[in-house]
């Protein structure tokens, strides 16, 4: 069973996307920092190694703003399958939240809707980590790599990096990761 979940937001422009993005900061930085990595869509599209590794090593929770499901499709474009897809609009409906209460362009993480959506997404993460539907992905490779990747502190690109200064590429033992993946027959990103 995986020890982390990759949060992969659509990163669109509409209100729901902004709310989802902010909610994922809350999940990743406040609620479940050790159980999540934060995937960056454009970086994944550009084959930034860290983001490619994230979707290959961990089950992906795609967080979508609309029915276009761009995050889910992007993961598929990179030859993986999202373990679960949640749509912000549906989560808000489920929680009885009104989109009208959310400002355009930017919403503070303290906003009640952001906090409520973040908590619901954190529940999805916990379900995936404890064997819920979709938890089977990826094959048992993540434990091999525990401590090597995904805690964000050794990341060069920063999808998972905190706001601290970027660290050297050498801090990130990608060669070891690649070796581990080769040993268990995982496709290189």
């Amino acid at each position: 069973m995986a020890d982390k979940v990759c949060l992969q937001p659509c990163l669109g422009l509409r209100k729901e996307a902004v709310l989802g993005r902010q909610a994922l900061y809350v999940v990743h930085e406040d609620l479940l920092p050790d159980q999540t990595v934060l995937g960056c869509g454009p970086a994944l599209n550009a084959n930034v190694q860290e983001d490619v590794d994230f979707i290959n090593l961990y089950p992906v929770l795609a967080v979508e703003a609309c029915e276009l499901d761009c995050a889910t499709k992007l993961v598929a474009k990179k030859e993986q399958t999202a373990a679960r897809t949640v749509r912000i609009g549906e989560v808000m409906k489920e929680l009885g939240l009104e989109l009208d209460s959310v400002p355009e362009e930017h919403v503070e993480v303290e906003h009640p809707a952001v906090q409520a959506v973040a908590k619901r997404i954190a529940e999805h993460v916990k379900e995936l980590l404890t064997g819920g539907p979709g938890a089977g992905h990826p094959p048992p490779t993540a434990p091999l790599l525990r401590g090597h990747l995904g805690d964000g502190r050794g990341a060069h690109h920063g999808a998972d990096a905190r706001d601290g200064p970027p660290q050297s590429h050498h801090d990130r033992p990608l060669l070891r990761v690649r070796r581990c993946r080769a040993e268990v027959g995982i496709r290189q990103g």
Binding site: P9, C10, L11, G12, L13, A17, R21, Q22, L24, Y25, V26, E29, L38, C40, G41, P42, A43, N45, A46, V48, L68, C70, A71, K73, L74, K77, E104, E105, H106, E108, V109, A155, H157, G158, A159, D160, A161, D163, P165
Partner: protein, 142 residues
């Protein structure tokens, strides 16, 4: 400001999430659109990455200004992937250096004054680029 509305620029901010500059780029995108509402088509990198037809059409139709937040230059990658040379490129580090703005200490979840300064600087630079690109397009038709 250019009054002609037939000419537009498709603006492609990377809209990433990982870096502090990701937030700067994202907010700049909205401000650019506000300042040039009739000249700017704001593209979603998420939709473009999966070749959403509406976004691909706008990308193909108009000259493109890409705004890259961090070193992998993901917005530029996307333009290259779709086979188009952007009419303009802006890289956040260049803007920060030109304006001597440091945003260290700000948070990606919400900017303070320093981050806002950089948002304004990149917005100003982008608007100037948009005006230049449109002028170039217009003059090439005369």
């Amino acid at each position: 400001m250019i009054e002609e509305t037939d000419f537009k620029v498709a603006v492609l901010p990377c809209n990433g999430i990982g870096r502090l500059v990701s937030t700067v780029v994202r907010l700049a995108g909205y401000r650019i659109k506000r300042l040039r509402p009739d000249q700017v088509v704001l593209l979603s990198s998420g939709r473009l990455a999966v070749k959403d037809p509406e976004h691909v059409a706008a990308f193909e139709k108009y000259p493109v200004l890409v705004i890259d937040g961090c070193r992998p230059h993901c917005a530029s990658f996307m333009a290259d992937e779709l086979g188009k040379t952007p009419a303009g490129r802006i890289y956040m580090a260049d803007v920060a250096a030109e304006n001597r703005i440091s945003i260290a200490g700000d948070k990606r979840r919400g900017l303070t004054g320093k981050g806002e300064k950089l948002v304004n600087a990149v917005t100003d630079k982008a608007v100037a680029e948009i005006d230049r690109i449109i002028a170039d397009e217009m003059l090439s038709t005369l």
